[in-house]
Symmetry: C2
Subunit: 566 residues, 2 copies
């Protein structure tokens, strides 16, 4: 079943919006491995004989058993501590008006990895996001079929913020305008419940922009009205409901054969990891659950994937692209490459296909569900800011930033993640590293400031001191501090380290391109799927979410997926 | 903590719409108890001494250990079998045009308990419901705060239908008209996805109506537009989102003190079990989770319960009502009895209070969330049918039925659950017993029909037979069959057996009025809460749902509730 493909060369990694990050090692995984290793190392216990030899063996065995027990107990203890710690927020230092105000926009990969690392004692931190949780986007395709329940990949932002040393304010709001000159932002409550104050402004000293991007339909008529997207939790839930709605409507009494086939045709546009994973998950849902509970649809259910480029998954190595295409063929998922959607109505997708001989032809695809998993464009607030800053003129992908992620043409404003236009692909992996880099930068800035303040104080002291020996001691100390200051001011520019790309392709198989030194290790199959799972579990931030995700996988293993429509 | 109240008298049980059923004994519970009992019965193992006594003890101990192990293994085996069985539907006999068509409307307590018991081999069964799952309504209040995840109390209808011996057709549709004379129903697909056929008719020989009831606002202005209801899964999710929305809006920058207090005032109208349980769950959510993660709201969050009658929970005994009211006082939940809502705007509830001196006064309550947990009225399809049948004239509560649940003025049409107007309260407990009764009735009807057919055949045979001895044997058999026939035709009318009422009242306390012979056993407190939990788990239909609900409880115990808004 498992087919492993190796490649020594460095594969092209035009990583797209959905490429996955492999940043954090698994703490939980490490505990599990340790326990297993100790357990496996236990030799069979032999009874103590009259000779000394077996007795010694027995002692070794006993020692190993004890080691096993203690490490298992230690592992459990650690887990219990982490659960306890996760539930018990700390006493926090209140906001301090003498400190500078740092406003962070967004609650995605970039902003959250920044918030996790930044020392909030140095600033008055305010977070503004229309979503009061962090979303583990790589598992979003799994939510569309119920392999993972959506709350398992949502981590409440307050769980993170309430564990910081100093108080962090959070406003659930959308930032609608950034005034880089007046140094204020305008925020609006975009929820259904509105108070008398639903729009206000927040002044800032420093601003970190991590608002992400929005879906684009490339202006293709009918897409916005008829397609489902796959970016937020609500999108995944809408798709989940719509899949079952299509099935129930297809099995409605007196439905014609043709209409039934249309309703059961599920089309995904976009051959990046998100599109591929969604197609794989959907086919799994059909094979493992729907076929069993709604046998009447077995003959007509069909998943198709449409991609404008000549092949899917451009960020993966050639072998893996081929492997994925063959795997999809086995699973009976149709891949239409070189097919560009031109128009969508409520029942039909019209697309232009480039045929092998180079000529172009139009085809019509009747469909029940259309998932649009391609295309990003800047959010309105970013578009507006681009207009206002002369140095940003002509930038269409997002905010241009310098090597230190400072927004060009501004001071004290940084951008990270999908809203920044860097030379890197707009992936979670890049955003995470940018967030961590910026946090280090802010922590260093605070340290530098503190050192500068101390030097000024010491210089003052030196002036006031008359005694020579004392004066010399102070001058020495100033010298030391200045050295530290020079070192901490020597900031390194942001540099991205690509760690690899991962994607699930259905039927318990995954593909992985991992960067090792100068080369790439590529693999695909069931073992890679186990790796995919453990990599994702290790990346899900909290112990709580790790356990929730694992419980969901176990639930599906035991009971299958839920076919209720709601 | 636990306070137990006993009462020997038979309490008034004007059980309301939300009174809980205690019908099925816990299979899982039984296994657990058995395991625990065996385990507890193990005496401490003493080393075998030189005398025979301890040795015998040792053997008894060994035996008991073995018993423990084997029963635990048996329990696990049973559980594994049930999980396996639940996931593997059977080969089903296809529809048979010679059989009569039985149409069942609805997928609530009545219809589902009917479907579980009825032998589908005797009829061509068609089920029509706008909801393709059964909903365990007693735990719906727990879903509003995330104590239980909504999918844990949803059981896909197909899991039930695909385990029946003969095929059962299911259409996800709303029945919009019942023509009792032409014997057809009209059904309409009410989902978002519509096929070319979205409305059609289904002819029936027998019809079982279990469509339930709809919420009523008693015509009070503003309720329909501003209140949340608590009947379906979508209602619970809407409330869950709105609670967090109110909190986020209350903590929005520059929100005034007054507006903040308004947004954090959560009002429940209706002092039945649903309202009480919701209020209790909401206060738990605040005390155990919100207070910790959103400390800024601690001073202002408030839950109030409004009831028009002089006291809450009229179906419970006096002691329990008092106990509940005191417990609510401890939890700082305000109870406003004798308070009748007169008008609701988007921000204020106006109500008329009958004061202790009998005079009436109007009060205004600013609120953030309003949950309307009172009042049922017939659905439109039932109202329409009531108009069409002369014998139903004047009935406003629902379809009048005779002692055998046949709809008055019709033939071959039965009604059960909240859409039937019986002398019993519209509770899940009543609906379940009605469903079971009707299933027995249908199974008997089929048996009777088969016997009648056989008698006719035998009579024919007797006529054709010349030999006397053979003729006598046939006559004897006819006599036997006729006796069976007479017995099976002697149908008993439906009789309801009240088994008790249960409600959760917050702070890990519950109350229970259980019927025992002529009297009632009343209890309230933490032990009753454990009973409440085990009773509910035992009632959740499938092993899958039982385990899901228990996992949810464990999840909340370990990690608390989720404060994400989505």
């Amino acid at each position: 079943m498992a087919s492993l493909i190796r490649s020594g060369f460095r594969s092209t990694t035009l990583a797209s919006a959905a490429t996955r990050t492999l940043a954090r090692p698994s703490r939980l995984g490490a505990v599990a491995t340790r326990g297993a290793r100790a357990y496996a190392a236990v030799p069979p216990v032999e009874p103590a004989g009259p000779s000394g030899e077996p007795k010694k063996k027995f002692r070794v065995g006993k020692f190993l058993w004890r080691l096993t027990y203690s490490s298992a107990a230690l592992g459990l203890g650690l887990l219990a501590y982490e659960i306890y710690d996760g539930r018990h927020p700390v006493e926090q230092a209140p906001a301090d008006p003498t400190k500078k105000t740092l406003v962070v926009l967004g609650s995605g990969w970039g902003s959250v990895s920044f918030l996790k690392k930044v020392d909030t004692e140095n600033y008055n931190v305010i977070v503004v996001s229309p979503r009061n949780f962090f979303l583990f986007t790589p598992l979003l395709p799994s939510c569309t079929t119920g392999t993972i329940e959506h709350r398992s990949i949502m981590e409440p932002l307050r769980h993170i913020l309430r564990h910081k040393k100093a108080e962090v304010k959070f406003y659930e709001a959308e930032c609608t305008e950034i005034d880089h000159e007046k140094r204020t932002i305008t925020v609006r409550d975009n929820g259904d419940v509105k108070g008398t104050v639903a729009e206000t402004s927040i002044p800032f000293d420093y601003l970190v922009i991590g608002v992400g991007a929005q879906n684009t339909t490339f202006g293709i008529p009918g897409v916005a009205d008829n397609a489902c997207f796959l970016k937020e939790i609500a999108d995944a839930q809408k798709i989940r409901t719509k899949i079952m709605d299509c099935i129930e409507t297809a099995t409605f009494k007196d439905q014609s054969e043709e209409e039934r086939k249309r309703l059961l045709h599920m089309v995904v546009v976009g051959g990046g990891p998100t599109g591929i994973e969604f197609a794989g998950e959907l086919q799994d849902f059909f094979e493992e659950d729907l076929r069993k509970w709604v046998p009447e649809i077995s003959g007509d259910f069909k998943v198709s994937l449409v991609e404008a480029l000549p092949n899917v998954l451009p960020m993966f190595s050639k072998q893996l692209i081929e492997y994925t295409e063959n795997s999809f063929k086995d699973q009976k998922i149709d891949i239409h490459t070189k097919t560009m959607v031109k128009k969508v109505t409520d029942k039909v997708i019209s697309a232009e296909v480039t045929q092998p001989d180079g000529t172009k032809a139009m085809i019509d695809m009747p469909y029940g569900l259309l998932v649009w998993a391609t295309g990003n464009m800047p959010r309105d607030v970013i578009k507006d800011l681009l207009q206002k800053i002369p140095a940003q003129k002509g930038s269409r992908r997002g905010l241009l930033v310098n090597d230190y992620l400072v927004v060009e043409g501004t001071e004290g404003i940084w951008a990270l993640g999908d809203c920044a236009a860097t030379k890197y692909a707009p992936t979670a992996q890049v955003a995470t590293q940018e967030g961590q880099y910026l946090a280090r930068l802010f922590n260093t800035m605070a340290k530098t400031q503190a050192l500068e303040d101390e030097v000024v104080k010491l210089e003052q002291l030196a002036l006031e001191t008359a005694e020579v020996a004392e004066k010399k001691a102070i001058t020495n100390e100033i010298e030391n501090k200045a050295k530290l200051l020079r070192r901490s001011k020597r900031l390194m520019p942001f540099e991205y380290t690509h760690q690899g790309s991962l994607a699930y392709i259905g039927s318990d198989r995954a593909i992985a391109d991992l960067a090792f030194g100068e080369g790439t290790y590529s693999s695909g199959g069931s073992l890679t799927y186990l790796f995919w799972r453990s990599a994702y579990v290790s990346m899900v931030f909290s112990t709580r979410n790790k356990l929730l995700v694992m419980t969901d996988w176990l639930k599906v293993k035991l009971f299958g997926r839920d076919v209720s429509r709601e």
